[in-house]
Every structure is written in structure tokens, then in C-alpha cells.
Symmetry: C2
Subunit: 209 residues, 2 copies
Amino acid sequence: MRIAELSRQAGVSIPTIKYYLREGLLPPGERTNRNQAQYDEPHLERLRLIRALIDVGKLPVATVREVLATLDEPDISLHKVLGTVSASLSEPTASTPDDDLVAAREDVDALIERHGWQIAEDTPELDVLAGIIVRARQLGHAHIADSFDTYCEAAESIADVDVGYVSGLGTVENVVEGVVVGTVLGDAALAAIRRLAHQNLSARRFAES
Amino acid sequence: MRIAELSRQAGVSIPTIKYYLREGLLPPGERTNRNQAQYDEPHLERLRLIRALIDVGKLPVATVREVLATLDEPDISLHKVLGTVSASLSEPTASTPDDDLVAAREDVDALIERHGWQIAEDTPELDVLAGIIVRARQLGHAHIADSFDTYCEAAESIADVDVGYVSGLGTVENVVEGVVVGTVLGDAALAAIRRLAHQNLSARRFAES
DNA sequence: CATAAGTAGATACCGATACTATCTAATATT
DNA sequence: AATATTAGATAGTATCGGTATCTACTTATG
């Protein structure tokens, strides 16, 4: 198909497609001439994936490029891609070593320990979580962190179905794509569902009709 | 305290504080003179809250303003503030009524029904979730939505501790602030914890040492 | 009390991000 | 032959989240 058709089917404007081509998010089409290229189904799928990562996951274009690069690596393992996707999705942690952060990080390590989780020391999420605890404390809501044990238990059942889902995808490429889609769409879905659960609970407990 | 001190304690530059004042995120200090104003503890707390919403929650400044406005309303109920905060946090849903979206929305309604949740028809998260399902289908990952029942169960226990936490906060103002902080920091924490759970599970199942 | 430092408020400017528009030279379609 | 479409290059634009500067003061300090 030509670029106009790709644009129509994906619902993405031609200038935007050209922009993604320039930015290396989308591989160039197969050239048939100096000013003609053919795009096919994989292009369309890739384009839809890009839009999902941007629209639903709110990923910046640069992060999308990183994630897609991981996805295109020839020898990928599920565990490795999880790490890379995680790393791309969490901001690089602040440079200041900060006493508060170190303390919070110890609490995070204890949390992980309590749940018997096997996590590499340098996983960025550990610092992200520590950072959140620091903020909560600064805001006078230190006890929010007390809920994190429950969050962990809940996350275990969630991770269970998540990994179950991707495991059933067959080829490595499919699994890896499933990880990306599942991570990003899953985050968004989980946030929405949590809000719905809040609404439900507060409707039941505190509704004044 | 004067603006320099406020800046120092919050770790936010003076021009940025002035910007927040202009944007109405931060109420003006108490004027003592034509070019002097006093800021106090509440200002500092508000400023820290603003930074947490922006840094951790990635909320745009305009949304922070909305959320803070809700927080400052004189007569607020927990249930109302949950709705307003939710509304501020989810983008306004697309205008196109779209067949795919309608179908997905029915699936969402069925999901809510299965769990016996009481949710107002017009809650924005219902459409957000439907939108995510549409994207998943377009990406050939329709079955991701099968996991949402598990997500709901997990979200129930999470919402339980969340509501338990804010209920214990005493005054209405504290509760409302707790909702805001808990929603935003909680989302970020939950996402991080989910990633950690993934890492743990994949380490155990698929690790090649 | 003079001089330096700090401040409010107004306005202008800035860098990053994510596109969008335009132009050229060529090819495709009708 | 006339019209539409395309690749690729380059330039322009809107928004966002600040920064910087300037003026007319007021405070703090030696």
C-alpha cells in the first residue's frame, strides 16, 4: 500500500507518518522508485503500536523509539525485554544521593524482602518507589506506604495473569510485543480500574443520596 | 517567611514560584507592603503538593490547578472529590461515537456488572477503559481484556486499603487531600510495584543464569 | 543613613516536544 | 497530456513549563 492508504487505515496524517519515519519510529517502506515506497501490514501494525504507546501510555516519542528498538533486537529474552522496557519507562533516577531517599530505599528493600521477591538491586523501579515514599513523607502522608504490602499482594495476582497471557503467545516476537503492549496498556487499565474501585467503595460507604 | 525562604525549603526556584502564583496554583502570600508578602507553612505544603503532582503524577499545570481548586472548595464530600479528581485525571473522551468503542463499552459495563460494582454510567474511567480495550483489539491483543477480572479483584483489595487510609485522616480537608495524594502517588506506586512483580515472576520462571 | 540585597508584578524570552506545512523533483494515474 | 501523488528536505508552528529581565520599590546591614 502507499502512504495515503497507510495514513487512512491507521488514522494518522501523512505528515505525521513522515515525521515518524524521520524519527526512526517507523521503518522506511520498500522503495520501488526514487519517489515511491510500498508499506505493508507490519507497517500498519507498527504504526498502531506507536499511536497506542503515545496516546494510551503517554510515552514521549524518544521513549517509543527506545522501546521499539528493544522490540526489534534479534535475540531477545522475555526477562531481558522486561528489564529494558522497565528502564525505558522509568525516568533516570536523580543524581543527588539524598538521605531521605536512602532511608526510603531501605524500606523498599524490606518490602521486597518481606514478599520474598527476587529483584536485581539496580532495578530502576526500586528507586522510583523510594522516591514516591519520600514525597509521601514530605506531604505528611508517610502512612500511605503502609498500604504497599497490600499493593504487592495485589500486584502478584496481576503479574500472574499478565505473565500467563504473554506466555501463551507462541513466538518470541509475539511474546515480546505482548510484554510491551501489556505493560503500557495494562498500566493505564489498572489505573482506571483502581479509580472505578474507589468510586464503587465510596458510593457504598459514604453516598448521601 | 519570604519568597526566598519558601524557595529554599521547597527546593523550587523563585521564578517558578512566581509562575505558579501567576497561574493560580499557589495562593498569593499575605501582603505586608507594596512589594513584600509573607508566606507560611500552608504555602510550603501546597508547593510540595504541586511538585508531587507534577513530578510524580506527571500532571500538566492546568490539571494541577483544577485538582487544587476542587481541594479548596468549601463543602466537599469524599465521594464528590473522588469524582472530580477522577474527571480531572482522565482526558475528555473523544467525540466520535465509533462502533468499536460502543462495543468495548458494553464489555466494560458487563465487567462492572460481574463484579457487582456500583458505578455511575457517566464515569469517565468507563470510557477510558473501553478505549484501552479498543486499542488492544486493534493491536491484535484482544485477550488482554480477559485479565481485567483479575485486575478488578486486585483493585478491590487495593481500594479497600486506600479508602481505609483516608478514612483515618480525621478532618474533611485532610481526607480530601489524602484522596488526591493517594490517587496520584498510588497510581505511580502501583505501576512501579506491578513492574517489580513482573520482574520477580519472570526471574523465577524464565531466568537463564 | 547610605548602600546593598531582596521583592512584587509585569513582560519578554527560551528550549523542548510533537507535530504541520511547503517546496522540489520525480513518478503514477486517468 | 494533464492531474494527482510521492519521497525527502527544510522550515514553520503551537503548546508547555518554565526563566530572565526590568522597574519601582522596601528591607537589611555596615
